[in-house]
């Protein structure tokens, strides 16, 4: 296998892909669904239903507001109980539509037949409109509204679509299972996105620790001209957008710019399946694969979950939280969010839930910086984390700006590798957000 990779930085956390062998299973419907209106980057959707309304699976319940926004659809059928603020992964309460579930009645416009529809009948513009109507957002975790990515501004040339099937975060296996079990839909979905973008070439990047996925997609991609599979070295953060583009196309996205500026667009492999279902089966986005895992969890699983399902339900289906679980991570261990409780519902961005034992969860006591420069060597963006942390401590925001603190992608490599267990990323985030706020205020003047 010819493995490609990015050049600067990176670490290799233990992979712990404990759930890789668990096939996708449908999770039970919740009794009450809490569907957040802000499940994506950008402005939250505006609710278009109210208390007492009857909804079906796939009914539009939130309309996108503004350019960067996405539609939200009901994932269950039943009656709207309330529109209230519910705690989400951010740790704060955000507006959500709460629905009492009755049965499982789908919108009749959705095609539920299992046959693979290979031919693409829609043209570029129709596809992008379809993506918008179906509320498709990136399922890699960033949840960027997909239709916005494919509205290429005048003057920008694009030649490649990159499908991110890397899944470099430890523990998570939802993308892996999607590639193994729904490879055909992945490829048709990729072709749909190629049509939407107007390109002839797509590359699916997969990390080398998933040889079965590489094999099955390479084999099936032969029937889809223009699509190739590229195996990548197992290194975190191989799946970060900029690093992935560097590895596959050897192009570096400049600071503050987008992949469009180097001629490509990146989308997660789970999103391709959602795109296939939206375009070929008229199915909006209301469910996704969520990995349930943890070293002491009795049963590891990859569930197909309706958004709005409380995570407690999924944990119970795996045998309940083991004794001594002290942290619940929404996402992966390097970039995920620690949950305040397990009642938090699944959203479009929930890629996995990791149950962590007390010993692993507690951070080591931070020591003095020994200036070993391991953080500098590990940073994929070429920054100096130890310096930005010091600048955050002394509130030297102009200096932090000169050190490119705003370019930090919060991957966590620095803090992971620090022998003194210093809270590097905590402070760098503070510097980054302050620098960005100062820049905004400066440009307003």
């Amino acid at each position: 296998m010819d493995l490609k990779t990015f050049k600067i930085g990176g670490v290799h956390p233990p992979e712990n892909k404990l759930s890789a062998g668990a096939p996708i299973e449908a999770a039970a419907l919740p009794k009450r669904a809490f569907i957040h209106l802000g499940q994506h980057l950008g402005a939250p959707a505006k609710p278009i239903v109210q208390k007492g309304d009857k909804v079906r699976v796939g009914t539009l319940i939130g309309a996108g507001e503004g350019f960067i926004s996405a539609a939200v659809h009901s994932s269950v059928s039943g009656t709207v109980f309330a529109i209230d603020a519910v705690v989400d992964a951010s740790g704060y309460k955000r507006p959500a539509v709460i629905i009492d579930v009755e049965g499982d009645e789908w919108e009749p416009t959705i095609d539920r037949s299992p046959e693979l529809k290979k031919d693409i009948s829609l043209d570029k513009k129709a596809i992008v409109d379809r993506l918008k109507e179906a509320g498709i957002v990136g399922l890699g975790g960033a949840t960027f509204p997909a239709h916005v990515k494919y509205m290429v501004p005048e003057g920008k040339k694009v030649d490649t679509l990159i499908i991110n099937a890397v899944e470099c975060e430890p523990y998570l296996t939802s993308d892996h299972r999607v590639m193994l079990e729904r490879a055909d839909e992945v490829l048709v979905g990729t072709r749909i996105l190629m049509t939407a973008l107007g390109v002839e070439r797509a590359v699916i990047g997969i990390e080398a620790n998933k040889p079965d996925a590489i094999e099955i997609l390479s084999r099936k991609a032969k029937d889809h001209p223009g699509i190739t599979v590229q195996a990548l070295k197992v290194q975190y953060p191989q799946g970060a957008e900029k690093q992935l583009i560097k590895a596959i196309l050897n192009r570096e996205v400049p600071s503050g710019k987008l992949p469009l500026d180097v001629g490509c667009v990146v989308n997660n492999v789970g999103t391709t399946v959602a795109v296939y279902e939206a375009v070929q089966k008229n199915k909006p986005l209301f469910e996704r694969i969520v990995t349930l895992t943890g070293k002491k969890l009795p049963r590891k699983a990859n569930f197909l979950v309706r958004v709005g399902t409380p995570i407690t339900q999924l944990i119970d289906a795996c045998g309940g939280a083991p004794e001594g679980t002290a942290k619940f991570i929404n996402g992966g261990p390097m970039m995920g969010k620690a949950m305040v409780n397990t009642d938090i519902p699944v959203t479009k961005g929930t890629s996995g839930v990791i149950l962590v034992d007390e010993a692993d969860a507690r951070r080591n006591a931070p020591g003095a910086c020994i200036r070993c420069a391991k953080c500098v060597a590990a940073c994929p963006m070429g920054l100096e984390p130890y310096l930005i942390e010091k600048q955050a401590e002394y509130a030297l925001w102009e200096d932090a700006e000169k050190e490119d603190a705003a370019d930090c992608m919060e991957c966590g490599c620095c803090q992971f590798t620090c022998p003194a267990a210093r809270p590097l990323l905590d402070n760098i985030r503070l510097a980054k957000t302050t620098v960005m706020r100062i820049r905004r205020e400066r440009s307003k003047k």
Partner: protein, 293 residues
Amino acid sequence: MILYPVIMLGAVAGIAAILLFLTAKKFHVEEDPRIDKVAELLPGANCGGCGYPGCRGLAEAIVKAADKGDIGGLSCPPGGSTAMKAIGEVLGMAVAESEPMVAVLRCGGTHEKAPRTLKYDGAPKCVIAHTVFAGEKGCPNGCLGLGDCVTVCAFGAMYMDEKTGLPVIDPAKCVACGACVKACPRKIIEMRPKGRKERRVWVNCVNTEKGAAAMKYCKAACIGCGKCVKECPEKVQAITLQNNLAYIDPKKCIACGKCVLVCPTKAILATFEPPKPKPVEAKPAEAAPATPA
């Protein structure tokens, strides 16, 4: 033998002294002598509460303004009226009396009233914890207890009370420079007038959630019931209710203390014991003063 080194070093020292003297004279910057006089009258703590870079910066600004004829807008919070009056005399200008202010903490979420249901394990800064979650107590507006305010106080007027988990402000030491107000990511500390004879009343909560939701995690929360609004004497009307939160306007408040007694969650505090009403039933005066012993 030792004479030679002594003479040599003495000569070097002498030449250096002459050089320094000449350089100081040549590069001397002429400064308005009034700036020095004004700077002497200022506390010299360089706290930045006036908005200028250090006491010297304020002194320059005052002298500049004095030449324009009005030093009204400039004031030194720590120096207070005494300093400004003295400065006014030196410059021969009139200075308006400014109301002495003090920083007031507006959160009653002690360990007892708002038990911690979560454990925060990150960098111990409030600004960082604020971005992670609502807080160990669960209240999205409540004090995070990590002491950014205490760290930034340059006058030693604050300390963290381990028993309650909340910071304590010593009104005797507080000079109202405003650093703690800026440092708090949740805007829990407010600058309020000290009040006549140190009598002041305030709502000890900034939570804007509905009463039932707030009570779930804090027994001392303001539930927005409005009893205080009704109790405030008609001629005064100092209390307003907005977003499920009561607010006492310090400009209107006469510090009678009636609202303190009617608050069902004891969310209103005062620096004095409000007079009990005449009727037989003696309510225990539980408006605990916020001043530490």
